[in-house]
Symmetry: C2
Subunit: 264 residues, 2 copies
C-alpha cells in the first residue's frame, strides 16, 4: 500500500485488505470471511470498526451475511444467457422454449404466471405503435432457479394480434409465444435488446429475494416481424448476482435492424 | 394503497409515495424533491423519518443529493451504446473510431490513457490462449462525457501480434486498434460481449465520480479473427447511470460464433 493511502479510515483499510484477499483467491466463493471477533483481534479495532469493514464488502455485493453464521464471500455462479443464439429461430422453431438455453443444464422454472388484458404503459405502447387505449395481452412470469427467484418477465402483445390464441392462456404450448406468433403470421425475425442496470426497488428486492448491495439488470426486448412490425415487448428484471448476458455477433452483420422508435 | 401495506414503516410509506410521484411523472428528471422540512410538515413526521425516506430513494439510485441544494430526481439521459452496429466493419473500416457511434452526437472523450506491457490476469490469458508468462499490450483508457467520467476500458492484446505497431502507442491512428489489427493480418471478424452488473468498488466509484446507489455494468468484449483466433480482450466498466446498451440481431443469424473457452 502506498503511503498516500494511510488517510483511509481503519474500517476502509480492513475492507480493502479483505477485498484483496478475495480477489487473490485466498478466500474463494462461498468461503467464510473472518468474523467481527477475528477482525477485532487481528487489527486491534473496536467491534463497530470490524462491523463497518464487513459492511463495506456487503454493500459492494462481494460478501453476504448469513443469519447467525457470519459473512461469506458471495458465490457468483451465474446463469449464462445467450442473447443471440438463444433466440435463433432453429431453437424455438422446433418446439423448445426460448428459455431452455438460458441455463446451460440448470433448471429454470416458472413459479408464478398471470395473463391479463391491460392497457400497456406509455413507453410500451409507443414501441408497439399502439393506437390510444388499444389493449395488450400481458404475460407476467417469475422464473426460479434452485428455488431462488432470478428473473421477472412482463411480456406485452397487441390484443388484436393474439386474441383467441394460446398466447392468452397460461400454457402457450410447444415453442411458446414465438411459435404461436409464427402460426398467426407474425413470426419474429428481428430482435432488439436494451440493457440497463440500477438498484432494485423494495418490491423487486422482495419478488427476487435479493441480497443487499445487488443491482438488477433490466432488459427490454422487442420482437419484430421481417416487415419490421413490432409484435412483442418483454420487460425483464434480472437479479444481477445470478446472470451473465452473452452477445455474439459478426463484425459485418448481413442485415440491419428495422428503423424503430426509441423507447427510452 | 391496500390495507395490508399499513405495516410499512412511516419512512417507507413516504418513500413509496414519492417514488410513485416520480414514476407518474409528477416529478421529472432533474426536478427537486420535497426537502426534509416539507416532508415533516406534509406527513407530520420527525426530521429523521423524512431523512430516511429520502435516503431510500437515494439508495435506489432514483434520487441524488446535491450539496446544500436538496435532493433531486436523477436525470437518466443515457449514452446509447450499440453493441452490434457499432462494431460493424464498415464503421471502423473507413477510419472512424468504434466509439464514435456510442454517443449519438454527444462528445465522448478519452481523458486518461496509459499503454504498457504486462502479464495479463489469468482470466484474460485463458481467453487469449496465451502461453504461461506471455506478455500483453495493455491499453487503459478513461472516457468522459461532458466532463463526467462514464467508462473505464482496459484492452489486452498479445504482444507478439502487435509489437512495433501503433497499437503500442497512445495514438493508434485512424480507425484505432481494429484498423491496425486488420493491417497486421488479424482483422476482427467476430465479437463476443459478456455483460454483468455489480456495485462498484471504492476505486471504481472514485475513477468514475459515481453517485451512491449506482451500480456499474461490466462488459468483457473479445474480438476474434475469421479463423476464430482471439486477438483482443477489452474489459469495460461503465457507470450504469450513464448507459443503455443496445443489441440488435436476427432470429436466425447466418453465422455462429467460434467455439471459444469460457472466461467466467
Amino acid at each position: 500500500m502506498a503511503a498516500t493511502d494511510d488517510r483511509r479510515p481503519k474500517y476502509q483499510r480492513i475492507a480493502d485488505s479483505l477485498r484483496e484477499a478475495i480477489q487473490s483467491g485466498e478466500y474463494g466463493p462461498g468461503d467464510r470471511l473472518p468474523g467481527e471477533n477475528d477482525l477485532m483481534t487481528t487489527h486491534g479495532v473496536a467491534r463497530m470498526t470490524a462491523r463497518q469493514a464487513l459492511g463495506v464488502l456487503r454493500d459492494e455485493g462481494i460478501a453476504e451475511a448469513r443469519k447467525g453464521a457470519g459473512v461469506y464471500v458471495r458465490a457468483f455462479r451465474p446463469i449464462r444467457r445467450h442473447g443471440i443464439q438463444r433466440l435463433a429461430r432453429d431453437q424455438w422453431g422446433n418446439g423448445r422454449s426460448i428459455w431452455s438455453a438460458d441455463i446451460e443444464s440448470r433448471a429454470l422454472e416458472v413459479d408464478r404466471i398471470t395473463v391479463s388484458e391491460e392497457t400497456a404503459p406509455d413507453r410500451v405502447s409507443a414501441v408497439l405503435n399502439l393506437a390510444d387505449g388499444e389493449v395488450t395481452c400481458v404475460r407476467r412470469r417469475r422464473f426460479v432457479l434452485d428455488g431462488k427467484p432470478v428473473l421477472l418477465a412482463t411480456s406485452y402483445l397487441p390484443m388484436p394480434l393474439v386474441a383467441g390464441s394460446a398466447i392468452t392462456q397460461e400454457e402457450t404450448g410447444p415453442g411458446g409465444t414465438y411459435a404461436r406468433l409464427a402460426e398467426l403470421g407474425y413470426e419474429p425475425a428481428h430482435f432488439r435488446e436494451e440493457v440497463r442496470s440500477r438498484m432494485p426497488s423494495k418490491d423487486e428486492m422482495t419478488q427476487l429475494s435479493m441480497a443487499t448491495g445487488t443491482p438488477v439488470i433490466l432488459i427490454c426486448r422487442t420482437a419484430f416481424t421481417d416487415r419490421g412490425r413490432p409484435v412483442e415487448v418483454n420487460e425483464m428484471t434480472l437479479d444481477a448476482a445470478s446472470y451473465v448476458l452473452e452477445y455474439d455477433f459478426d463484425a459485418n452483420p448481413k442485415t440491419m435492424p428495422p428503423n424503430v422508435p426509441d423507447p427510452s
